[in-house]
Structures are given as structure tokens and as C-alpha cells.
Symmetry: C2
Subunit: 331 residues, 2 copies
DNA sequence: CTGAAAGCGCTAACAA
DNA sequence: TTGTTAGCGCTTTCAG
């Protein structure tokens, strides 16, 4: 193996200084045209590829960003990640992707790693940032953008208006005099405690219905087919459910079928993320629609701006949502 | 913001040389106990965190590996990625994850990026490595392991025996005198051309049935709900199908229902990856079972060995598979 | 427009 | 057991 060719070798072969080669590589305009071409030719002939690690050390920019994802196998977050990845690649950033499992220790380890690797920025997805995460970010002054994620720190973020979306979905059912259950992973997560549940209650209040906390169900992030939560929902007397996770909604639908429920006649469902999973249902599942890919893409775009110290007008961006009625709702 | 504390600051404060600090950080045994403790205390007091980029440049090891995935939103690959990520974290590696979309240009760009970032190794998932990829890998001598992926280059890999698994599934149907279709993404990909289709033909031959190429269907990686392929399959006269992708199998199942097919009475299905998606079916989908997570995990483990120049006995590892009969097969 | 030279923060001989 | 000293490969003033 011919040992790696460095900028030094290029400089030598082209009879210029390393500085000039560096300028050529970085498209610095003040290099004479002929010089540039000569250098470019040598670069090509020698098959020179700059060492990004060395560049990173010298320039203090790694063109790498960290992405923290709660669960790679969750269709919603996976779609966000694809949006992030596409835009990152477009702007020539690489992504260090880590699966947090929403686990505290793991998250702490991840953030330390990311910072050690000198990432230029971080996109965080998830529902429970650790204190350590927040402290460390603050100190390090690393740019962070939340995607499909809220916190109570005014961190830049890209989302839909969960409160209003949940409100709308609840209202849809309430107009039909349904008794509506709200199914969330964990009622204490900010996204639920501060957005979805308040949105649900907003609608209740508008319709003069008393809030019943027994109609809030938590499935604690479990995709388990055998969770008892599905039975509980059907036995609660609810006639409709808004579910914060497509996988859960599908499992709920199937369980209803097994229990002999007619959906949407006996029971209606609106899911929240409109991933492909909603299409796996029989009937297909009605859902709040989110521009999932775009949320990731916009988050990444914002992050590039922050990293370049460009002005960003809106720190907290809300993209449009809607509700699509498929087979699990009556209209 | 207090400017970053470096190894130099630590050395100063602890009245030792940088080398000693470095030794402490790297757990070099030949540091006197008291010295070590003093340094450790300073490290803690100063809240020193080593700069991995500088370490990478000096040591020529980045403790970062590249992972190429065809589609983050595909449940099978996402599960592999989780296995990879877990073991990587266990061994203190970070993962640069890139979505290739099985796109040639994108793959080429990704591999160049990864190499520029000086990753210590690469895990490749996908079905069509580009020539550029293979050339560049060879030159760079970067360790590569394939996960859930085959090639024709004898690259280290972790898989199940796709040929035998497909053979078994086909045989299961043939024993029932079914006319069996084989549904793959692309018949030319090595995994299909050299494993699944031969496995299918093996079983045919054993049962003295003539191969009919019209029973091989390609869905070209599309998850599309509206693909015409489903109709074609049902209209082909086949009474059973082996499908290489759980998402496709589910869509096929649902389409059958819409066409009024009774499954498994009129038509049977065996899927290939046993991801959670098989559980979304009504009935749940019978499937070849693969230790998906383990394939990723083992691939990562092998990669650590290769990167450490440890001996690896088996270059190509085959994990156990089985067939689980759920609701889409008759037994 | 180009070059010299000083780092970036760390590791790894080599000495002591 | 510890310190000295070269680098690792690149960017970036500062001169010219």
C-alpha cells in the first residue's frame, strides 16, 4: 500500500506551498487560475484526499453533527432521521447517529461522546432530555436543534403544534358525542404534559365535558403486542381514541378486531404520525398528518444556519399538520 | 465561556508533563499511584475532556466507524442498526450512519466521506455495492464487515443461510402441492440471484417441478401501497408466496383481503425477516425468523476484532434461522 | 497572489 | 516512573 498522500506531497509535486494547496482545496478565490489548475491536476494525479480529522483539528470544524434518536426502529423517528440525513449530506455534513433508548445513562454517555468528537452541532429527538445533557450543552455552547421534540428551555425546534392538533382530533370526536381516550407513551413527558393533554382538555372544556383522568392511557413506549393496555382501553367505555404513536394505534386496531369490535362503527381511532404504519391497518388508520421528513429536514437546515452564525428568524418552527380520515373514523 | 481546557492545562496544574497526563487518560499501568491520583483529581477539578479529534490525528485511530444502511425506515435494517449501535457503544465506538437509498452516486459520496473522516472500519448493509465502493475499500485497507448482506468478494459477513432458508420455505409449500411465487426486490441483487432464487429452485427440483420465471416477482424496493405487483401475484395462479420483505408481505396480505381472498385458505404467505411488521398483520404473518439484532451485533463484534488485528476464525458467519408459522400458513 | 511558520491537542518513541 | 520532543495533516495569520 502506497502510504497516504498528504497535502505536503501535493505541494511538492506542484511546486507550491501547502498554503496554496489548502487554498485550492477550499476554493479560495485569490489563487491565480493557472496555479489552481496545476494544483488541481496534481491532486487528481496523486489521488489526493484531504484528511478530515486533520482539517477538523486545524479549523475547529468537523463538519460532523450528532443526532440523538430515541428508537431507530420507530417509524416516526426513522423518517425524521432520513430528512436530517438528506439535508446533512446536501450541506456536506456527516451524522453521528446514536440510539438513546430514552435511557438516562445512555444519553449521558452519548452526549459526552459527541462533545469529545467535537461535533459542530446536535439534533436531538426524544422526550426526556437528561439534566446532564442540558447542562453540558449549555456550557459547551454547541448548537442544538430539536426535531419533533419539545422542551421547556426554549431550544430551537421544529415541530407541529401538538396542542392544537390534539385539540382538533378530540374535537372531531366530541362533535360526534364520543367518549374519547387519549393514549400517550408517558403523560409526564413535556410533549404530553404540556401539549397533547392540554390540547385534549381544551377541547373537553369547549364542549363542557369533565376531564376524566382515567381516559388518559400510558403505554410506556412499548410496542408489545401483548400489552394489557389495549384491553383496558376498550373496557374503559371509551368509544374513540387518539393515539400518539402509529405502531400503538395499529396494535390497538388489531386488538379491537380480535375482541370483535367493529371499527369504525363501535370504536374510532386517530393516530398521530401518519407514517407508513397507518397504511398497514385494515382498515387503514386515520391520522393527524405531520410532514415528518420535512421536520427532520428543516431542523437540519436550521442547524446549518446556527452553525454558520446566520440569523434565524423563528427559533421555534411549527409546520402544518392536518387530519386525514381513512378507515378508522366515521365522517 | 472559559476557553477549552487542554491536556497542557492539566499537565501544568498537576505539575507533570503532558505525556503523563496522556498516560493517565489511557490507563497506562506504569504511572505511580500517587501521580495518577493527583492527575485524576486535576482532571476532575478542571473538568477536562480530551479532544477526540486531536487524539484521532495523533493516534491514527478515530474510534468511529461508518455504517451504510439502505433505508433507515425499513424495519429489518433498522433492527440491524440497533444491534450494531449497541455493541459499538459497548466498545466505545461511535457510528457515522448514512442512508444510501441504494443509490449509486450517494453510496460513492458516502464512502468517500467516511474514508476522509478516517473511520476505523465500516459496516455495510445493502444489496448492491458500487464498484467505486469496492475499489476504494480495497485500496484504503479499511476493515469492512457486511451485515445481513452478501457480495461476491468474500468480504467478512454475518447472515443467515438465505439459500437454505428459502429452500425450506419453498419446500414447506411444495409439500402441500401449492404453486409458489417468490417475491424479491430485485432479482439481480446477489442475495437474490445467488441465494434466494437458487434456494427456491433447489426445492423445485427436489419436487420435480419445472421452474417458471413468471412466478418470480420483483417489487423494486417499493413500499408503495398501490403497487400493481400485488394484483399480479394473485392473478398469476400462485397459491402461496415467499416474500423477501415484511412490509411487502403485509401489503400483499392486505391487498388479498381487499380482493376477497381468504388467507391462509386461498393463499398463503411466508415473509423473510420476522420484524415487528409481521405482527401488524391480520392474521399475523408467518415468517422465516432471523436473529436480526444479533446479526448487527455480531457484525460489529467481528469488526472490532478485525480492527484490533485479532484473529477471526470464521470470515463468513451464518446465524440460525427458523420458520415460524402464524396466521398466513396452513400447517 | 503566494509562502513561511506557528499552531490545533494529543500520542508515542526515546531518553533519562 | 516520568519528561522531552517530534510529529499527525491541515488551516491560518502575517509578510511579502
Amino acid at each position: 500500500m502506497q502510504s497516504k498522500v498528504t497535502i505536503y506531497d501535493v505541494a511538492n509535486a506542484a511546486h507550491v506551498s501547502m498554503a496554496t494547496v489548502s487554498r485550492v482545496m477550499n476554493n479560495n478565490p485569490k489563487v491565480k487560475k493557472e496555479t489552481k489548475e496545476r494544483v488541481l491536476k496534481v491532486i487528481h494525479d496523486l489521488n489526493y484526499h484531504p484528511n478530515a480529522v486533520a482539517q477538523g483539528l486545524a479549523s475547529k470544524k468537523t463538519t460532523t453533527i450528532g443526532v440523538i434518536i430515541p428508537d431507530l426502529t420507530n417509524s416516526y423517528f426513522a423518517n425524521l432521521a432520513v430528512g436530517i440525513d438528506d439535508i446533512a449530506m446536501m450541506y456536506n455534513y456527516n451524522i453521528i447517529l446514536s440510539n438513546s433508548n430514552e435511557d438516562t445513562e445512555k444519553q449521558n454517555k452519548i452526549i459526552d461522546n459527541l462533545l469529545a468528537k467535537q461535533v459542530d452541532g446536535i439534533i436531538y429527538m426524544g422526550r426526556n432530555q437528561t439534566e446532564h445533557f442540558q447542562n453540558v450543552i449549555k456550557e459547551s455552547e454547541t448548537a442544538v436543534v430539536l426535531a419533533g421534540t419539545v422542551d421547556n428551555q426554549n431550544t430551537p425546534s421544529v415541530n407541529i403544534n401538538y396542542r392544537k392538533a390534539t385539540h382538533d382530533a378530540t374535537n372531531f370526536f366530541l362533535k360526534q358525542k364520543q367518549k374519547v381516550a387519549l393514549v400517550v407513551d408517558n403523560a409526564n413527558f413535556p410533549i404530553n404534559a404540556e401539549y397533547r393533554i392540554p390540547g385534549y382538555r381544551d377541547a373537553l372544556k369547549e364542549n363542557d365535558i369533565k376531564f376524566d383522568k382515567n381516559l388518559i392511557f400510558e403505554n410506556h413506549n412499548s410496542d408489545s403486542v401483548n400489552s394489557s393496555i389495549y384491553n383496558n382501553i376498550y373496557e374503559s367505555g371509551a368509544t374513540a381514541a387518539i393515539v400518539d404513536n402509529d405502531e400503538t394505534a395499529l396494535l390497538l386496531l388489531n386488538k379491537g378486531f380480535n375482541l370483535g369490535k367493529k371499527i369504525p362503527n363501535d370504536f374510532q381511532i386517530i393516530s398521530s404520525n401518519n407514517t407508513i404504519v397507518t397504511k398497514y391497518g385494515r382498515p387503514m388508520i386515520s391520522s393527524i398528518t405531520q410532514p415528518t421528513y420535512d421536520i427532520g429536514a428543516v431542523a437540519m437546515r436550521i442547524l446549518t444556519k446556527i452553525m454558520n452564525n446566520e440569523e434565524v428568524k423563528e427559533k421555534n418552527i411549527y409546520l402544518d399538520y392536518d387530519i386525514i380520515h381513512r378507515g378508522t373514523t366515521r365522517i
